[in-house]
């Protein structure tokens, strides 16, 4: 049957409509004013009123990390009357002054990027504005900017809005997690966005950590006290190098390139720091007298750390001159942050430890907070001001290094610390059942295909049950379980992410965050190199399975007469389209990953499994329907001509280890070629491994003595000659009959 050219035109029109309709963006890569990150008047550049309903005015940025106070004007305040909480606030003199000037303090508004730097799936943070009232209850959340392509092209942004709306009414000190929480765990579970797990986990951390940090700072949430460190009575005086080796002194280096500055061969900042309260370290660094003087000055629950540095930059900066705050450094212990004022600073004139190099800048800083404990790990943070080379926009970047007093300085050694479980581990644990079922499915598929020689021998070209039934079962599991239930449909976007990770920065956490996709890709890589891409594309791809099932179901109906196959010559030209699509997407991705993700909508996978056709705008739905209808009448049109993932996998398939079996007669016989659904067999009988979907139809014919012409011929010849039909050997021919001498035993007649 001739291929209707109008369908080609229809496809082109659909694609054009699709791209034009994919342009809506919401907060995706929304341009933000540069002042948003640094201007004291945050609310002049951010919609603060939206996240703090009822507020009439806002203060300038204050505190570290920064936030603004939200006020309700006095008239309304007086109308509303004072409440009990207000009486408590009036105890604070500063609060009274602010109130006189602005009205009633009703809450705080803060920008997440002022507080935390948590990359989401795109590797960039989601810039989020959060409003919280004076009781620590979150009153509003708004994502100002994100770079999550999945929310642009895969999932409606309304779902993101619904997700963040769940935070309204939550307490800043609550333990909020994604997914259902165990009863009695004290945690609050939130509904995730299907298909955007990494994004929502990152956003959850962004919102809750930001809210907690501000709540801690303004006194809503009290720090959980940690057991104080008790130091061992060591008499040795380690030298500088020994302390660096054992971790009593740690180093934090920032290169100019890290801040977007040209390299000069010298680091921007090369800091060494350590904890001075530990007697052995303090005496080694300051000498016995110096240490004694320092300890005499410190109160209980006060801690001294030293910082020395070389480099182009300064860890002191100049902020302390104007505002009395050292704005380049801070100490973090879990979620508690400790900053330093000029009153927390002491000069460090000389290092007594032998072997200490000279430094350009030095100082001792005092942590005056009982929440800090030297027995537990903490982080020294250097806050850099990074300038984007292209946009010239400056943003703050944190560089941090962990410090944990070596065990020998602590009585009883280091205490047990339960590190927060990485997000990817939590996801793997939560999906244990799905992972187990998925592994079984993969193992079953590999086993069935590994046994293909046995299966195809039992099947015939008229009865293919031995091959088709296991395949149908796998297709069903793939569509239902892998596609619709777990949404683990591999996609070209993952390949693009891999290329980017290879070229720029490899993060295992990024790939581990979706366990089924992670496992699937290892399986895919392994089986592609061993057998070719056909095992995935022909047996396991959820969309491919759906497409072929649609074709086979239609074949069982009267519509069968409308089914067609493209002429081989046209097919041989069109099959290159998918390689062009793959190359184009790869090239575009290095220009803009977001644009590549948009163009990757040529894959109907998101519409089919991830989002659902009913949840998508009409161009996507129309594209999906058109492909599905086309699939009913010609076998796997998307897989053959458009699939960029298939093209990407086809290229290494050139080097698969084990191909399919062929006979010498295959170069002239076209029996297999005529029945090859993927049209992968050339006129010379050669199977193109890149196009082959391993349907095994040709292998069934290979052993079928009622289907394979050379075997049929031989069967008939032997029948006429009265010769027995010997078993068919692995090379696809009857085992030859060799005459033996008459005196040989009968059982040796056939060899």
């Amino acid at each position: 049957m001739r291929f209707p050219r109008s369908l080609l035109w229809l496809g082109n029109v659909l694609l054009a409509l699709l791209w034009s309709a994919a342009g809506f963006a919401g907060s995706y890569d929304a341009p933000l004013p540069p002042q948003l990150a640094s201007d004291p008047d945050l609310c002049a550049y951010a919609p603060c009123r939206e996240v703090m309903p009822g507020a009439d005015s806002f203060s300038l940025r204050k505190g570290r990390p920064g936030y603004v106070e939200a006020y309700r004007i006095r008239d309304e305040y007086e109308k509303a009357g004072r409440d009990g909480r207000k009486d408590q606030e009036d105890e604070h003199q500063e609060g009274e002054r602010e109130e006189r000037e602005h009205g009633e303090l009703i809450g705080y508004v803060f920008l997440s990027t002022d507080i935390v730097d948590i990359p989401a799936y795109s590797g960039k943070p989601m810039v989020t504005l959060i409003g919280m009232d004076t009781r620590g209850i979150i009153r509003g959340v708004r994502v100002l900017k994100h770079s999550e392509p999945i929310l642009l092209v895969g999932i409606p942004e309304a779902q993101l809005d619904r997700f963040i709306a769940q935070y309204i009414g939550k307490f800043a000190g609550a333990k909020v997690e994604i997914g259902t929480s165990l009863a009695g765990s004290g945690r609050i579970g939130l509904d995730a966005i299907s298909g955007a797990t990494v994004t929502v986990i990152a956003e959850n951390q962004t919102i809750m950590r930001s809210a907690y940090a501000v709540a801690r700072q303004v006194g809503i949430v009290k720090a959980v006290p940690r057991a104080a460190a008790r130091f061992t009575a060591l008499n040795d005086a380690p030298d500088w190098n020994a302390m660096v080796r054992e971790g009593a002194i740690e180093r934090l280096t920032v290169k100019p390139g890290d801040l977007g500055l040209p390299e000069t061969g010298e680091p921007y900042i090369d800091m060494y720091f350590g904890y001075l309260n530990a007697p052995a370290i303090g005496r080694a660094m300051l000498g016995a007298d110096g240490y004694a003087r320092l300890m005499a000055d410190l109160k209980a629950d006060e801690h001294a750390i030293f910082i020395v540095a070389n480099g182009l930059g300064s860890f002191k900066g100049s902020g302390f001159v104007r505002g009395g705050i050292y704005d380049r450094i801070q100490v973090l212990q879990e979620i508690d942050s400790f900053t330093f004022r000029d009153t927390d600073y002491l000069n460090l004139y000389r290092i007594e430890a032998a072997g200490a190099p000279s430094f350009r800048e030095s100082g001792i800083f005092i942590i005056r907070n009982p929440a800090f404990s030297a027995a537990y790990p903490w982080h020294m943070v250097f806050l850099g001001n990074k300038m984007d080379r292209e946009t010239r926009v400056k943003s703050f970047v944190n560089f941090e290094r962990e410090y944990w007093l070596p065990a020998r300085y602590l009585e009883g050694g280091r205490p047990a610390v339960s590190q927060p479980e990485p997000a990817w581990q939590a996801i793997w644990k939560a999906k244990q059942v799905e992972i187990a079922i998925f592994l079984l499915l993969l193992a079953a598929t590999a086993t069935v295909y590994g046994l293909r020689d046995h299966l195809v021998r039992r099947a015939t070209h008229k009865d293919k049950r031995w091959v088709s039934w296991p395949k149908y079962a796998i297709w069903t599991a793939s569509i239902g379980f892998v596609g619709f239930y777990t949404m683990a449909q591999p996609s070209i976007t993952q390949v693009l992410t891999w290329f980017h990770a290879l070229a720029f920065e490899w993060k295992w956490e990024l790939f581990l965050s979706d366990p089924l996709i992670f496992i699937f890709w290892w399986f895919l890589l392994g089986t592609t190199l061993v057998w070719g891409r056909g095992l995935f594309c022909g047996w396991l791809c959820p969309y491919g399975s759906l497409s072929e099932i649609a074709f086979k179901l239609t074949r069982a109906t009267p519509l069968r007469r409308f089914q067609f196959e493209l002429p081989q010559r046209l097919h041989d030209k069109l099959k290159w389209t998918k390689y062009a699509v793959f190359a184009g997407l790869l090239a575009v991705s290095f220009w803009s990953m977001g644009a590549a993700e948009q163009l990757a909508e040529i894959e109907p996978f998101k519409t089919t499994f991830l989002v659902g056709v009913l949840n998508r705008s009409w161009p996507f739905a129309l594209y999906f329907v058109a492909l599905l209808v086309l699939s009913m009448f010609t076998e796997r049109p998307f897989c053959k001509y458009l699939c960029p993932l298939g093209a990407g996998l086809a290229m290494p398939t050139t080097f698969r280890w084990f191909g399919l079996k062929r006979k010498a007669e295959c170069t002239t016989c076209h029996a297999c070629q005529a029945g090859c659904g993927p049209q992968a067999i050339a006129d010379d009988g050669r199977i193109d491994p890149r196009e082959c979907l391993l349907c095994l139809d040709c292998q069934i014919l290979y052993y079928d003595d009622h289907g394979c012409p050379p075997l049929v011929q031989e069967r008939k010849r032997r029948g006429k000659a009265g010769l027995p039909l010997t078993p068919i050997a692995g090379n696809g021919y009857y085992i030859p009959i060799k005459p033996v001498p008459a005196d040989k035993p009968a059982q040796d007649d056939v060899t």
Partner: protein, 153 residues
């Protein structure tokens, strides 16, 4: 019979080499050196030109791997060099291996075979080279060279 046995093959001259080590050595050389005496070797000018191009792009790659040049140049180099290598190989070593990597079944490559071979090989080589240079500190050394700073975008 496997599909590889009955199709016309074009063996490289070392395919029948009895010594396994010698054969492996020649295979490695084949992967790294696209030219042959039979092909571009006959055109000494082209040989010199392509040798110069290979040196230039290797330097570009080294600088790019050290973070001195942007990703667009890296991709441009990778694609450009791969296209060039495909053309050279189609003239000088127009065969690829069929079947297991440890086997000795070769066949004549068509253009798509060669594109797949060269792109896949160069991807692996680039990644391996990057890891090796990173491990021995060459990339860190280049990153700290002020004299190369002008190469920053």
């Amino acid at each position: 019979m496997s599909e590889t046995h009955d199709l016309p093959t074009m063996l490289p001259h070392y395919a029948a080499d009895n010594s396994r080590m010698a054969w492996i050595g020649r295979e490695i050389w084949d992967h790294l050196w696209p030219w042959s005496r039979r092909g571009f070797g006959r055109h000494r000018f082209l040989l010199a030109l392509s040798g110069g191009a290979a040196t230039a792009v290797a330097v570009v790659w080294l600088l790019a791997a050290a973070g001195r040049i942007g990703p667009s140049v890296v991709i441009g180099w990778w694609v450009g060099w791969s296209v060039f290598e495909v053309l050279v190989r189609m003239e000088s070593k127009p065969y690829i291996k069929e079947g297991p990597w440890w086997g000795r079944h070769y066949r004549r490559a068509n253009l798509m075979d060669m594109i797949c071979y060269v792109s896949f090989k160069n991807l692996l080589l680039g990644a391996l080279l990057f890891l090796a240079l990173h491990a021995v500190g060459v990339l860190d050394f280049l990153q700290r060279l002020p004299a190369l700073d002008w190469l920053y975008r």
